[in-house]
């Protein structure tokens, strides 16, 4: 599989502050890639460097198999759609006029406008001034602008920011289907892991300008497995069994907290606990928050 976005030791320095520190991204063709990190982690800066909006202090960017240089930038941008830092647009103009402006700049025929308006469900509101749009509608208009000309690569910076749950749901469905529908590869950033889980196949996690993890979402989910709590009627009976299984349980009256366990081990343990009469009444697997995953990733890195 071809790598559509590849960065090598990409750095951006602002005075003494390193916003992006030796970032290596590998975005395979035809996938939705989630670029996740807290606010200020360096996501936007990295994405802007991919588009040539910001000049890297060091490092290299390859897009669609081509090195990003001053010379290759325009041909590459012609194949790229982007939405960076909240939706853009001219508020005194209608959505139709806004898209005409973008189509003119991209050199895309105006007949493509109807198609992208359809995709983002703005056909009905195409002749309303964008100033009257809700944030969700502006966000969708931003996506429509990015989709003009059917680019091979879409770079979307927090496109679900500020949307209501229904809007997030809709955006998710839209983006998830993008590779299948248009053949595009999508790089999408967010500060919420949960929001991305139903949308992306590959993830890159960035914090303080460092990539902490890059790989398939399934692999990340292994890291996101949190503790398991058991509520027992008789914790005293459970203690020997837990010890026998080499588990150090943290128990608080009738609630026992266990470290993350493989499903098979957990099932076996529950069966044994039930058999000894400990009375298992509740089992709650916990998912780590993004912060906790960061901590576990950074502590692994330190090991």
């Amino acid at each position: 599989m071809q790598t559509v976005i590849e960065t090598k030791a990409l750095c951006k320095q602002y005075g003494p502050h390193t916003a992006v520190d030796h970032v290596e991204l590998h975005v395979p063709q035809g996938c939705v890639y989630g670029f996740i990190g807290p606010n200020g982690a360096g996501k936007s800066t990295t994405m802007k460097m991919l588009l040539g909006l910001i000049h890297p202090t060091a490092g290299r960017v390859r897009l669609l198999g081509q090195e990003l240089t001053e010379k290759s930038r325009l041909p590459l941008l012609r194949q790229t759609g982007s939405l960076i830092e909240s939706p853009a647009g001219y508020l005194h103009l209608t959505a139709q006029e806004n898209l005409e402006i973008v189509a003119d700049l991209k050199g895309v025929p105006h007949k493509d406008i109807g198609r992208v308006l359809d995709i983002v469900h703005l056909t009905q509101d195409r002749n309303r001034r964008v100033g009257q749009y809700s944030l969700g509608m502006k966000q969708r208009l931003g996506i429509a602008m990015a989709l003009l000309g059917s680019p091979k690569l879409l770079i979307l910076d927090e496109p679900t920011n500020g949307l209501d749950p229904a809007g997030i749901q809709e955006m998710r469905a839209l983006i998830r289907n993008m590779p299948a529908a248009t053949g595009a590869t999508v790089l999408i950033s967010s500060h919420l892991l949960g929001e991305m889980e139903q949308m992306v196949e590959q993830v890159g996690i960035i914090d303080h300008g460092h990539i902490l993890f890059e790989g398939p979402l399934t692999e990340l989910q292994r890291h996101s497995r949190g503790n398991v709590t058991l509520r027992l009627l008789d914790p005293a009976k459970a203690a020997p069994i837990l010890r026998a299984n080499g588990l150090t349980a943290h128990s608080d009256s009738c609630v026992v907290t266990l470290p993350p366990l493989q499903d098979a081990l957990l099932a076996d343990l529950v069966q044994k606990l039930a058999a000894c009469g400990a009375g298992v009444v509740e089992l709650t697997p916990h998912t780590k928050t993004l912060e906790e995953i960061f901590l576990s990733l950074t502590s692994e890195e330190a090991d």
């Binding site: 790229t80 960076i84 830092e85 853009a88 647009g89 005194h92 402006i101 050199g107 602008m145």
Partner: protein
């Protein structure tokens, strides 16, 4: 590429408030000039030329720089608002083409303004000053020269408006530039200051041609200013990071 950028810029002017300025300021300027002329008929005896001195005094010093500054500030304000910088700079066009397109659109508006000013001048002359003939051709010549001088002003103002995110500050600087132009011009350093070039081109507040026999240095100065500003804009747009 430049053509596509110009089409895009023109589209941004649809339904824009800039047209209010376009119509209102020249009207005020012409009204003020005509009033001044009619109040001072005993010293202003050269008919069309005298009326021209009154029409152009405040127009070249205040109204024209204010209008060109407003056109330029408005075109960049559209990009300063709502992260549109990201949008235009990620478009597959050379950043310099974006600047050049804005300059050409400002120049277009400026040409329209000059025409409108001429129409108002003729109308005021015929209707209020009671002239039954038509103005001399040299007035048209002054207006065209004013456009050449105005090119430098437009370029400088576009550069200021690109760099300064505020709408009002570059317009204020334009006014300061215009007023300073009158002073610098009276000291004889007209070619060194773009706002002066416009005033000298228009032959503002003079009934005899200030540029008689000096048109070539004037044109070279206009071209020089234009080149310096365009080069600065090109370097800034290509070498610095986009701040949306």
């Amino acid at each position: 590429m430049l053509k596509r950028c110009i089409i895009a810029e023109n589209r941004k002017l649809h339904a824009s408030p800039i047209w209010v300025i376009f119509f209102v300021l020249p009207l005020i300027s012409a009204g003020y000039g005509t009033f001044n002329y009619l109040q001072n008929l005993e010293i202003l005896t050269e008919r069309w030329y005298s009326l021209w001195t009154q029409h152009t005094l405040f127009y070249s010093m205040l109204f024209f720089p204010a209008m060109v500054s407003a056109y330029a500030a408005y075109l960049w304000r559209l990009e300063h608002l709502g992260h549109n910088w990201n949008l235009i700079m990620a478009a597959p066009v050379r950043p310099f083409a974006l600047f050049a397109a804005k300059l050409l659109v400002v120049v277009k508006l400026m040409c329209f303004t000059q025409c409108f000013v001429f129409v108002l001048y003729v109308a005021c002359g015929r209707l209020f000053a009671g002239f039954s003939d038509w103005p001399p051709m040299s007035i048209v010549f002054y207006l065209v020269r004013g456009i050449f001088g105005g090119l430098a002003v437009a370029a400088v103002q576009l550069l200021l408006a690109m760099l300064i995110r505020s709408f009002a500050v570059p317009i204020f600087l334009g006014l300061v530039g215009g007023i300073a132009g009158m002073l610098i011009g009276s000291k004889g350093y007209a070619l060194l200051w773009p706002y002066c070039l416009m005033q000298q081109g228009m032959n503002a507040n003079h009934s005899t041609d200030v540029l008689a026999g000096n048109v070539l240095p004037f044109l070279l100065a206009c071209a020089g200013w234009l080149a310096v500003v365009l080069l600065t804009a090109k370097v800034l747009l290509e070498k610095t990071d986009v701040k949306a």
